[in-house]
């Protein structure tokens, strides 16, 4: 019988807090580096001056209007993506669940791509809502199709098939557009944080402000859900509606990020796995905040790398998260997949 998460939590409180503290420190370090590094290379005293209202005009603009919003967006987006991934994985009891593999990201992307290429007249702030509609549609198609199966591979296959469809649609859209549109859209499709300003942050902020706390509140229902549907019902959880709400929330978090940054892959898949590995527990009350922090670290770190690695050329962060995240995930899951299937 699986040990109930409660006792694991009690015994592990101290290490978890330590982990969170460690993540916090790491995050602060990355944040500092992000603000300092770049074309006007700044030093900590410069930064201090800027915070206190001084510093050269150029430096102020660069830090306050360019780097800071970008950093804020990276942290928010990273947290939102990883929370979404954690919720999907726990609610579906499937280690391979992730918005990029379940058609959620692809659904949101198609909508945003259509809006961009077809130059649809849509209010800027309405875009995340439309993206959400796309995300939910994509996700629900996959979930409906794979509903009766616990087999991880099946779910991934269904998701891959739908994503192929949606990605092909996006390419079709692209072929209809002008050269300029194509470049813009392509950059978007890869997932990027470049040139994101406070306007983008404000767009995401309400979604984050409501979504993140709500996600953290889902910890208890997630723990109960992980015991199995029948057991959960027996414990008084309205399983179907709870799962539905959790999945909708997960999709909403992703949709908001996609609307602003494009589909950034693998943060949502990786962060929960890393969080579980490091904290050695599956209690959602610990994993959710840890994953959020790890996601923020991963994405802001990746963005820093994207900016600095080939300076002055900048490659979008989405490229790096896939290039590094993909193989990493493969490594992480290899042994797990081998043990799970086939061998009784």
């Amino acid at each position: 019988m699986k040990a109930p998460p409660v006792s694991a939590w009690r015994g592990r409180r101290a290490p978890i807090l330590l982990l969170i503290a460690g993540c916090g420190v790491l995050l602060a370090g990355i944040a500092l580096l992000s603000l300092l590094c770049g074309t006007p290379q700044l030093s900590p005293p410069d930064l201090w001056r800027i915070i206190n209202g001084g510093g050269s005009a150029l430096a102020r603009v660069v830090v306050l209007q360019l780097r800071l919003p970008r950093l804020a967006l990276a942290m928010l987006a990273g947290a939102m993506l990883s929370l979404s991934g954690t919720m999907l994985q726990d609610a579906l009891r499937n280690a391979l669940a992730g918005p990029e593999l379940l058609g959620v990201s692809a659904g949101a992307t198609v909508v945003v791509a259509a809006i961009t290429i077809l130059h649809l007249a849509v209010i800027f702030s309405a875009i995340p809502w439309l993206a959400l509609a796309g995300a939910l549609t994509g996700g629900s198609i996959v979930l409906l199709a794979a509903r009766r199966t616990q087999d991880a591979a099946r779910l991934v296959l269904t998701g891959a098939a739908l994503s192929a469809l949606l990605n092909a649609s996006v390419i079709v859209f692209m072929s209809l557009g002008s050269q300029n549109d194509i470049s813009v859209l392509f950059l978007f499709l890869v997932g990027s944080l470049a040139n994101r300003t406070w306007q983008h942050v404000y767009l995401v902020l309400p979604w984050a402000a409501i979504g993140i706390p709500l996600a953290l509140l889902c910890a208890r229902p997630l723990n109960v859900l992980s015991l199995g549907d029948d057991v959960a019902r027996g414990l008084g959880l309205p399983v179907t509606s709870a799962r539905l709400l959790i999945l909708v929330l997960g999709a909403a978090l992703v949709a908001a990020v996609v609307a602003v940054c494009g589909p950034i892959s693998f943060i949502a898949l990786l962060a929960p796995h890393l969080a579980r590995r490091i904290s050695k527990t599956t209690d959602a009350r610990a994993i959710l905040p840890c994953a959020a922090l790890i996601g923020a670290i991963l994405l802001s770190g990746a963005d820093l790398f994207a900016r600095m690695a080939f300076a002055p050329q900048e490659l979008p962060v989405g490229v790096w998260t896939t290039l590094v995240g993909g193989p990493f995930l493969l490594l992480l899951l290899r042994r797990r997949l081998g043990a799970r299937r086939g061998e009784p």
Partner: protein, 335 residues
């Protein structure tokens, strides 16, 4: 019910399908900005007297395109059928072998290096893309195929490696934005401008891979029963699965190299074939080939006739046609 009839009258069904394919080829050649009557097409094909310009159009322009559509479609259809058999999952498709993303990556590398001359690269493109496809497939095969529970791992490896290769492609495209326009058409999959040199790239692979795939139908049948039963029947499961995967990779790489990243064909053709003739690979594989060929020919014919003068690439047409079917398919599975 349909399955029983199809199985009973399998031979006539195949003959009928071949006839339909021939008609489709004729139709395909007939259609286009210059419409040639089908009778003239047949006459030109059989070297009867026709107007010289018609002969040129038929023999130099349209026939290679039709043949490429025929054979590439068959290759996609067979690759999809093989993959669906060995994965025991009707949603498996050739993209999963990594061959498509590998081919695209090499093609993009080549296009961005070869730079401005857009015509030359077009001809050499298949030669470049093919090794890329094979490399992608081998990568997935090596990383995901070893060991016992290969199916899950193969799926995941295929999906992840494809994603990684796609993002590598994105890097190149971002660094060389001018290549973007040329690549796009190829990414979706198109038969525009396919002439005899392209056919020359395609047919050797077809000759090798298509019969190999068909010959493996018996093995695929046994694999379908599950690893334990297959071993019990004396099959070397791991080796067989990998060989079949390799053949599917060959088929996909060859077709993608010439035609581009057409998605869906490898998913839908075997699926329809399965509903008509059932799951026995000895019937499914050939019929899936015919289905793939027919769908691609039909789709290309449609893009040639409708939507003139804007030419929609055939890959886009397949997405537009395939999407509703695919959604319907998913809906069926969920109920």
């Amino acid at each position: 019910m349909m399955q029983r009839i199809a199985v009973r009258y399998y031979r006539p069904l195949i003959l009928l399908s071949l006839l339909v394919l021939f008609l489709l080829v004729v139709l395909h050649v007939a259609a286009g900005s210059v419409v040639i009557s089908p009778f003239d097409v047949i006459a030109a094909l059989f070297n009867r007297p026709v107007a010289p310009y018609e002969r040129i159009i038929v023999w130099d322009l349209r026939l290679p395109r039709a043949l490429i559509a025929l054979v590439a479609g068959a290759m996609f259809g067979l690759a999809g059928a093989i993959l669906q058999s060995i994965m025991r999952n009707p949603l498996a498709e050739p993209e999963m072998t990594g061959a498509t993303s590998g081919a695209v990556l090499f093609a993009v590398l080549w296009l961005s290096e070869a730079g401005r001359q857009l015509d030359q690269p077009g001809l050499l493109l298949p030669f470049v893309a093919l090794p890329g496809g094979l490399a992608g497939g081998c990568l997935v095969y090596l990383l995901g195929g070893a060991g016992k529970s290969a199916t899950s791992r193969l799926v995941l490896t295929g999906v992840l490696i494809s994603a990684v290769l796609r993002s590598a492609t994105s890097i190149i495209l971002l660094l060389r934005q001018e290549a973007l326009g040329a690549v796009l058409l190829w990414l979706i999959g198109s038969l525009n401008g396919r002439v005899w040199p392209h056919w020359d790239v395609l047919w050797p692979w077809a000759i090798v891979a298509l019969p190999s795939g068909l010959a493996c139908a018996g093995l695929a049948n046994v694999l379908q029963l599950g690893d334990a039963s297959a071993t019990g029947l004396g099959l070397r499961v791991g080796w067989t699965r990998l060989s079949l995967f390799f053949i599917a990779t060959l088929l996909t790489a060859g077709a993608v190299a010439v035609v581009g990243g057409i998605t869906f064909l490898g998913l839908i053709a075997p699926h329809i074939a399965r509903r008509v003739v059932g799951a026995d690979a000895r019937r499914l594989f050939p019929f899936s080939m015919l289905m793939g060929a027919g769908i691609l020919l039909a789709a290309d014919t449609i893009t040639q006739t409708i939507a003139q003068p804007v030419t929609i690439p055939v890959g886009a047409a397949l997405v537009l046609l395939g999407a509703p079917y695919f959604l319907f398919l998913i809906w069926r599975r969920s109920t």
